[in-house]
C-alpha cells in the first residue's frame, strides 16, 4: 500500500464509521463505539503517511477519475506542507475522539459522531485537495459539520446564537474564496498545478485583488482580527472536545489555505508581508487583551486562539517580507516559526480546551470567579493544564517557546538586515511578540491561579470531581507532546525544511540554509533546558535535605487576620483589572454597579462585561443597515416552496439564455 492509499483508506474509514454510527444511533453505546473507533483508526491511518512525508520529504498525488463538474476528476495529493497540517490534525482528531466519548457520556446524540468524523475527514480533505473544486467542497463540508457540532447543545439559546453567527461568518468568508477561485480558474483548469503555472503570469492589480480576497476569506476561518467575531462565540458553545479540535486545528485550515493560495499568485508583493504582519500584531495584542477581560474559561481560551493566530501571522508576514526583499534566512525562519506554531498551538490549545472541558465536567461551571482550589480535587487535570499554560505563554523549555523563538530569530535577522522596510517590520514584530508574551503570562497565571489554586470560591467548586481516565490520558499525551517538541526541537527543525521549501516555491537549498541558522541556537536552548532541569532537581533535593519532614502547616498568613474566608481571595476580575483599566479605551468594558444606599444598605451588585469591539461597533451596525436595506425585497419572500422552485427555474432559464447569446 503506498502512502496515498493509506491516507485515502483513512478518509474512507472516517466517513463510513461516521455513517455507521449515525445508523446505529438507537444504541448509544454502539454509536459511540463505531464513531470513536472509526475516528481513531482513520486518524492513525492518516497520521502514518503524513509523518512519512515529513521524514521522507516526498510529494504524492492521486487522481480519481470522475465526470464533470470536476472536469478531469478529483485530485488529492500529499506534500510536506499538507503533512505539517495533517500530523496535528490526525493526532488531535484521535485524542479528542477518545476524550469526547467519555465527555459526552449519556449526552451524546445520534449524529454526534457522524458530524465529528465528517469534520475530521473534511479537514483532511481540505489539506489534501489539489483541485479548486475538491477544495471548496471539502471546505463547505467542514463548515457544515462543525456548525452541527457547535449547535450540539441546541437547547441552549447561547449555542443557537453562536452557531448562527458562525454559519453567517463562515459563509461570508467562503463567498470571498469562491470569487477568488472563480477568478483564478477562469484562466484555465481548476487543478492546483495549473493554477500555480497560470499564476506566475497574473497582472499585478489582479494579484492584489486575489490577495485581499484570500486574506478575508481564509482570515475569517483562521480568526484574523477583525474577522474573528464568530470565534469567541462558537468555541465556548461547542462540546469541549470539539472546541479543542476546532480551536486547535480547524482554524489552521485558514492558514493552510492562505499559504497554499499565495503560492499561486506569483512573486509576493512587498506589502503583502507587511499587511500580514500588521494583521498579526493586531490580532495578537487585541486577542490577548480581550482574553484578559473574559470571565469564562472557554471564552478566554477562544480569544487566545485569536492571539496565537496572530503570532502565526507575524511569522508568515516576516516570511513573505523576507521573500519579497530577497532575504531567504528571514523568510525561512519566519515560515518555519509559523508552521511550527501551527503544530504547537494545536497541541497546547487542544490540551487547554480538554482541561477546560474536564473542569466544566467536574465542577459544572466554567465561570472563573466561581471556581478555585481545583488542583487538590483534580490533580491530573490541574497538572496538565499547568503544562499547557506554560507552553502557551511561550516559556522555555516547552514547545511554545521554540516556535516563538524561531519567529524572534527571523525578526532579529530582519533587524540587522540592510533593507529598511524589513528592519522596521522585524522591530514591530519583536515588540509585538514581547508585549503579547507578557500579556499572555498575565492571562494564564490568572486562568490557572484562579481556577486551580487557592480555596474553592463556591460549593460547586469544592465538590468538583476529577475526570475519568479516558479523559485524563489524552490530556497527559498532549502534555507530554508539549515537552517532547520542546526538548527534541533540534530534531524537529529539519522536518520542517521541505514544507518551508514548498512555501518558498521549491528553493530547498535556501530553506535548508535558512533553517541551519536556527540549529545551533536550538541545540544550546536544549542544553540550557537540561541545566535548568538539573538545577530544579538539585535545588529540590537541597530543600528536602534542609527541611526533611519538618514543615509545619498553618493558615495563610493574612497579616494577622484570624479567619480568612474563600470569598476574600483575589478574583479573576480583580487580578486582570489593572491591565484591563490600562487598555480600557480598546476594551470598552461595560460596568453595571448598584451602589449601597441608605444607612442600612440592603444588597449591592457589580458586574462587568466585555463585548467584542468589532462585533458591537462594526458588524452589529453594518448588519442592521444591511437588514434595513434588504427589507425592500421582502415581497419576494413568501415562504412558499413553489415560489422558490419558480425562482430557481427562472434563474436557470436566464442563465441558459445568457449562455446561448
Amino acid at each position: 500500500m503506498n502512502p496515498m492509499q493509506l491516507t485515502l483508506a483513512g478518509l474512507v474509514i472516517l466517513m463510513l464509521s461516521g455513517g455507521a454510527s449515525a445508523l446505529a444511533g438507537r444504541s448509544a453505546a454502539w454509536s459511540a463505539r463505531l464513531g470513536v473507533g472509526g475516528a481513531v483508526a482513520g486518524c492513525i491511518l492518516g497520521l502514518i503517511p503524513a509523518v512519512g512525508t515529513l521524514v521522507g520529504g516526498l510529494s504524492l498525488s492521486v487522481r480519481i477519475p470522475w465526470p464533470p463538474p470536476a472536469g478531469r476528476g478529483f485530485e488529492l495529493g500529499l506534500d510536506p506542507l499538507s503533512a505539517v497540517f495533517l500530523v496535528p490534525m490526525t493526532l488531535l482528531g484521535a485524542l479528542c475522539a477518545v476524550y469526547g466519548a467519555a465527555y459526552l457520556g449519556k449526552g451524546a446524540r445520534r449524529t454526534s459522531w457522524f458530524h465529528y468524523n465528517t469534520l475530521v475527514a473534511s479537514m483532511m480533505a481540505v489539506v489534501l485537495a489539489r483541485d479548486a473544486v475538491v477544495f471548496l467542497i471539502a471546505w463547505e463540508t467542514m463548515a457544515l459539520s462543525s456548525f452541527f457540532l457547535v449547535i450540539h447543545d441546541h437547547g441552549k439559546a447561547q449555542a443557537r446564537r453562536a452557531a448562527w453567527l458562525y454559519m453567517v461568518a463562515t459563509h461570508l468568508g467562503t463567498a470571498f474564496l469562491l470569487a477568488m477561485f472563480a477568478i483564478l480558474c477562469a484562466r484555465g483548469s481548476a487543478g492546483f498545478d495549473a493554477l500555480a503555472r497560470a499564476g506566475a503570469a497574473l497582472p499585478a492589480p489582479l494579484a492584489t485583488v486575489l490577495f485581499v480576497f484570500a486574506l478575508v476569506g481564509f482570515g475569517t476561518k483562521a480568526g484574523f482580527m477583525p474577522f474573528h467575531v464568530w470565534l469567541p462565540e462558537a468555541h465556548p458553545a461547542a462540546p469541549s472536545h470539539v472546541s479543542a479540535l476546532m480551536s486547535g486545528i480547524m482554524i489552521k485550515t485558514g492558514i493552510y489555505g492562505l499559504m497554499r493560495v499565495l503560492g499561486f499568485l506569483g512573486a509576493p508583493a512587498p506589502w503583502w508581508g507587511g499587511c500580514l504582519l500588521a494583521v498579526g500584531v493586531t490580532s495578537g495584542v487585541l486577542g490577548v487583551l480581550f482574553a484578559l477581560a473574559q470571565h469564562d474559561l472557554k471564552r478566554l481560551l477562544a480569544y487566545h486562539s485569536v492571539e496565537n493566530i496572530g503570532i502565526i501571522a507575524i511569522g508568515l508576514g516576516l516570511g513573505y517580507l523576507g521573500l519579497a526583499h530577497g532575504l531567504p534566512a528571514v523568510a525561512a525562519l519566519g515560515f518555519a516559526g509559523a508552521l511550527l506554531h501551527v503544530v504547537n498551538h494545536a497541541v497546547f490549545k487542544g490540551l487547554l480546551f480538554l482541561g477546560a472541558g474536564a473542569v466544566l465536567h467536574g465542577a459544572g461551571t466554567g465561570e472563573l470567579d466561581r471556581l478555585g482550589g481545583l488542583l487538590k480535587r483534580m490533580p491530573g487535570t490541574g497538572a496538565a493544564f499547568l503544562v499547557g499554560a506554560v507552553a502557551i505563554c511561550g516559556l522555555p523549555p516547552l514547545n511554545g517557546f521554540v516556535s516563538e523563538f524561531l519567529i524572534y530569530l527571523s525578526a532579529f535577522r530582519g533587524v540587522v538586515s540592510p533593507s529598511a522596510a524589513v528592519v522596521v517590520a522585524g522591530l514591530s514584530g519583536l515588540a509585538g511578540l514581547a508585549l503579547i508574551g507578557g500579556l499572555a503570562a498575565a492571562c494564564f497565571t490568572k486562568a490557572f491561579g484562579v481556577v486551580f489554586l487557592g480555596e474553592p470560591r463556591t460549593e460547586q467548586a469544592a465538590a468538583a470531581q476529577e475526570a475519568g481516565p479516558a479523559m485524563r490520558w489524552p490530556m497527559a499525551a498532549l502534555a507530554c507532546l508539549c515537552g517532547a517538541i520542546g526538548i527534541f526541537s533540534p530534531a524537529v527543525l529539519p522536518l520542517l525544511a521541505p514544507a518551508v521549501a514548498v512555501v518558498m516555491k521549491g528553493a530547498p537549498e535556501a530553506a535548508t540554509a535558512g533553517l541551519a541558522a536556527a540549529a545551533t541556537p536550538l541545540t544550546w536552548i536544549v542544553a540550557a533546558a537540561a541545566v535548568l532541569a538539573l538545577l530544579v532537581a538539585a535545588l529540590s533535593a537541597l530543600r528536602f535535605r534542609l527541611l526533611g519532614a519538618r514543615a509545619r502547616q498553618a493558615v495563610t498568613w493574612d497579616c494577622g487576620y484570624a479567619a480568612p474566608a474563600p470569598r476574600m481571595q483575589y478574583t479573576a476580575s480583580s487580578f486582570a483589572q489593572p491591565l484591563t483599566d490600562l487598555f480600557a479605551p480598546l476594551l470598552r468594558t461595560r460596568r453595571e454597579h448598584v451602589p449601597p444606599k441608605g444607612i442600612f444598605p440592603a444588597g449591592t451588585t457589580f458586574a462587568t462585561e466585555t463585548d467584542d469591539l468589532f462585533q458591537r461597533n462594526l458588524y452589529a451596525p453594518l448588519f442592521r443597515m444591511t437588514g434595513a436595506a434588504l427589507a425592500w425585497f421582502r415581497w419576494a419572500q413568501q415562504g412558499r416552496v413553489q415560489l422558490y422552485v419558480l425562482y430557481i427555474a427562472l434563474t436557470l432559464l436566464a442563465l441558459l439564455l445568457f449562455c446561448v447569446e
Binding site: 540587522v416 508585549l435 503570562a441 497579616c559 480568612p564
Partner: protein
C-alpha cells in the same frame, strides 16, 4: 576564554547578594544611619537556610515549586549573561530571548505560587507584577534590538564585545537612550523605587515583597538569592551598555565592569533615597516611557 566565562558565572553567584548590601549602605548613608553590615544579605541567607518552614493548608505543590523553579531560572540566566567583554558561558544567536524568557518562567512560577496561598494580599501583588512586567519586556527587547542593529551581532556576548568607547563616539546618543531605558527596566523588574518599595512589607503599595509573604525558611532564602541574581544579571546588561571599557587586558576589563556593578548599586541606593515611589497608576506611564525611549534610540540609529 572558557575560563573567563566561568569566572564570570562564579562571580555572579558569589557577589550578587553584595549588591543588596551596597544599596542598603547607600540608603543608610543618605538617612544618616550607620546601616547594616555590607554582608547582611549573606547572613540572612545563611540564617534562612537553617530555619524551618511553615506552609499554609491552602497551598499545593505549586507553592513549593515556585521558589525552586525561580532560583533555577535565575541561576541559568546567570550563565547566559556576559560581563566585561568576556563571553557568557552559554552564548548563541538570539540568546537574549532565552534570557528574557527565563525571567518569564521565574515570574510565572512566583506569581502562581502567590496565587496558591489564596491570600488577597498576594493576589494583589501578583496582579501588579504581571502588569508591570508585560510593559517592561518590550522595553528590554527593543533596547537589545537597538544594540543588535548597532553592532550587527545577535548574541549578547557578541553584541557587548563589539561595543567599545569608539561606539560611543560614533553613536553616543543612541547608547545613552538605551541605557536610560535599561535603567528603568532594572528598577522595575527588581522591584525598586520608583516602581516598588522593597522595604515595606505590609503596605498596599508593594508588589514583589507581598507576593512572597507566605514563604519562609529555605524557600524564602531561594527567593532572596534568586532576586539578587536577577538584579545582578539585568544590572550587568545595563553596565555592558553604559560602560564598555576595553583596555585589551581581560582582567582590567572585568575589574572595570565589577566597579560598574558596584556603581549601579550605589546609583540604585541614591535613587531610592532621593525619590518617592510613584503612584501605581503612574508606573505604566514610566514603563511605556522606557519603551518609547528604546524606540527613539532605534529611530536615531536608522536615521
Amino acid at each position: 576564554m572558557m575560563f573567563l566565562s566561568l569566572t564570570n558565572v562564579v562571580l555572579a553567584l558569589l557577589a550578587a547578594p553584595l549588591l543588596l548590601g551596597v544599596i542598603n549602605r547607600t540608603k543608610a548613608f543618605f538617612a544618616g544611619r550607620r546601616g547594616q553590615p555590607l554582608l547582611q544579605a549573606y547572613y540572612d541567607l545563611a540564617k534562612l537556610l537553617r530555619k524551618d518552614a511553615v506552609y499554609s493548608r491552602t497551598t499545593t505543590w505549586v507553592f513549593r515549586a515556585g521558589p525552586v523553579v525561580g532560583l533555577a531560572c535565575a541561576l541559568t540566566a546567570a550563565a547566559l549573561a556576559p560581563l566585561g567583554g568576556a563571553r557568557g558561558l552559554i552564548s548563541f544567536p538570539c540568546d537574549l530571548i532565552l534570557l528574557a524568557y527565563l525571567f518569564g518562567v521565574m515570574r510565572f512560577f512566583t506569581v502562581v505560587a502567590a496565587l496558591d496561598t489564596g491570600s488577597s494580599f498576594e493576589g494583589m501583588g501578583a496582579s501588579r507584577e504581571v502588569q508591570f512586567s508585560a510593559l517592561a519586556e518590550p522595553a528590554l527587547l527593543l533596547g537589545l534590538a537597538v544594540v543588535a542593529r548597532l553592532t550587527g551581532e545577535l548574541s549578547l556576548s557578541g553584541m557587548f564585545a563589539a561595543l567599545s568607547p569608539a561606539a560611543y563616539a560614533a553613536s553616543g546618543p543612541v547608547l545613552a537612550l538605551v541605557g536610560v531605558s535599561f535603567l528603568v527596566v532594572v528598577l522595575a523588574e527588581n522591584s525598586r523605587i520608583p516602581v516598588d518599595d522593597p522595604n515595606t512589607h505590609l503596605e498596599l503599595t508593594m508588589i514583589h515583597e507581598v507576593m512572597v509573604l507566605d514563604h519562609s525558611g529555605p524557600d524564602f532564602a531561594f527567593i532572596l538569592y534568586g532576586a539578587a541574581l536577577k538584579l545582578w544579571v539585568l544590572g550587568s546588561l545595563l553596565v555592558n551598555v553604559v560602560l564598555p571599557v576595553r583596555t585589551g587586558s581581560a582582567a582590567l576589563d572585568l575589574a572595570a565592569a565589577l566597579a560598574g556593578m558596584l556603581c549601579l548599586a550605589v546609583l540604585v541606593g541614591v535613587i531610592e533615597s532621593c525619590m518617592a515611589r510613584v503612584r501605581l497608576l503612574r508606573v505604566p506611564q514610566l514603563l511605556v516611557g522606557a519603551v518609547v525611549v528604546s524606540g527613539l534610540a532605534f529611530v536615531l540609529l536608522l536615521r
